[in-house]
């Protein structure tokens, strides 16, 4: 059933109260910190503002200094919202749309490869609207690849997750590897992925079955 809103795109007193609880700084730049009340407050505020449809409040939030100080804060906020099946669909769609805008305005010096896994995850979602938005976000990322060079700075290289060093560290992809994954493996099957949440399993399975073979050259 469609959600009905009676706020007519305006914030209520309750929403104004929520905004007063927004932090001025974050204890860590990435939003993949699930035991931090500050991060949770920002996530809840974003979700609430997407529900009431207050685009001004969302724009103000996304331009907040605590979200722009580090390049990983904004995309990690959006990714945390869109990957969670517990958040309402409208919030997840709004997060993916904001990410698409971010990709479209991306400067050549920034590389958002750290969010490819979150986009792949959303292609396996049970909600077709979320999958469709995820497919559009993949296309936006693919379009941004042409702007990148080997000198682009990886967003989240050091601060994507708090535990990455203790657990062996995040691994990254070189530009040709990213192009192979996005342009040769995922994008050609995006229409099937929009229709079927299981299709990405089949698609990646075919591609990754060659992994681990010594001496195997690029597919």
């Amino acid at each position: 059933m469609a959600e009905v809103e009676y706020t007519n795109g305006r914030t209520t007193d309750k929403d104004a109260d929520l905004s007063s609880h927004l932090p001025s700084t974050l204890p860590s730049p990435s939003f993949f910190v699930y035991d931090s009340p500050d991060h949770t407050t920002v996530v809840d505020y974003f979700v609430r503002m997407t529900k009431v449809g207050d685009t001004n409040a969302i724009d103000d939030l996304l331009a907040s200094p605590f979200l722009t100080e580090s390049s990983v804060s904004l995309p990690s906020l959006l990714a945390r919202v869109w990957i969670s099946p517990s958040h309402p669909v409208h919030a997840r769609l709004a997060a993916l749309q904001q990410y698409i805008t971010l990709m479209q305005n991306q400067v050549a010096s920034q590389d958002f490869q750290g969010f490819i896994p979150h986009l792949i995850a959303v292609l396996a979602d049970s909600n077709k609207d979320v999958r469709a938005a995820g497919a559009n976000a993949i296309l936006a990322y693919e379009a941004s690849l042409s702007k990148l060079s080997s000198k682009s700075i990886v967003v989240g290289l050091d601060d994507m997750y708090t535990e990455d060093v203790a657990l062996g560290g995040l691994k990254w992809l070189a530009l040709p590897e990213r192009k192979w994954l996005v342009e040769s493996v995922i994008t050609p099957k995006l229409e099937e992925c929009r229709l079927d949440g299981k299709y990405i399993i089949h698609t990646l399975g075919q591609a990754l079955d060659a992994a681990g073979k010594k001496g195997k050259k690029d597919q």
């Binding site: 080997s150 691994k171 990254w172 070189a174 530009l175 040709p176 079955d209 597919q219």
Partner: protein
């Protein structure tokens, strides 16, 4: 290590990986996000993709190796409980099953030992670890089968009743399916009902 120095080191690693095959690099990349993210909402779908999509032995081996740090992290009961509480829409039984499926038939004895440890810890993933041992057992070599059997018999003798219940439920099924399975003969020389009467 200082962030800047680590950043340089990571960049060098990623450049070096460009010389490897693309599937291997992508597998390692995706696995590292599963291991490091601490996000059940990300781990849940990615584990499904990695567990269900791959069938080639070399790829399965690489997947298990790449994801083993997460399996080891599961020894920490507080960590896994926090992970399971993170997202109420994620089915905890299915999530723990996917975590334990990191170890597959053909995995190393070291990885099987982690599953045995997880059973003995009587934590939130112990039941799923026991069920995965039952999946692995029929294809394991004779010495590994004996090792699993001995460890589980020790659990039956000295562990709590709930642990015995997991072991009996998980392995009785496979022992009934095939009379050739050594663990079935080892664990169930007496009728199943008499074992249940101990609980």
């Amino acid at each position: 290590m200082q962030p800047a120095r680590r950043a340089r080191k990571t960049s060098k690693l990623s450049l070096r990986s460009a010389n490897n095959s693309n599937p291997t690099s992508v597998m390692v990349f995706l696995s590292s996000h599963v291991v490091c993210s601490g996000s059940s909402a990300l781990q849940f779908p990615l584990l499904q993709i990695l567990n269900e999509s791959i069938g080639a032995p070399a790829a399965l081996k690489l997947k298990s190796q790449s994801l083993t740090p997460l399996l080891e992290r599961c020894r920490d009961g507080d960590y896994i409980r926090a992970l399971l509480k993170q997202d109420p829409q994620i089915d905890t039984a299915e999530f723990t099953k996917r975590l334990m499926e990191i170890v597959t038939p053909g995995s190393s004895s070291a990885q099987v030992n982690i599953l045995l440890d997880l059973v003995s810890l009587h934590g939130p993933v112990s039941a799923a670890a026991c069920q995965q041992l039952a999946v692995i057992f029929p294809t394991a070599g004779q010495s590994l089968q004996l090792h699993i059997a001995q460890s589980l018999v020790n659990q039956l003798e000295s562990g709590p009743q709930v642990s015995a219940f997991w072991i009996i439920c998980s392995f009785d099924r496979i022992s009934r399916r095939s009379h050739q399975i050594r663990l079935g003969l080892y664990l169930f020389p007496q009728p199943f009902s008499s074992l249940c009467s101990r609980m």
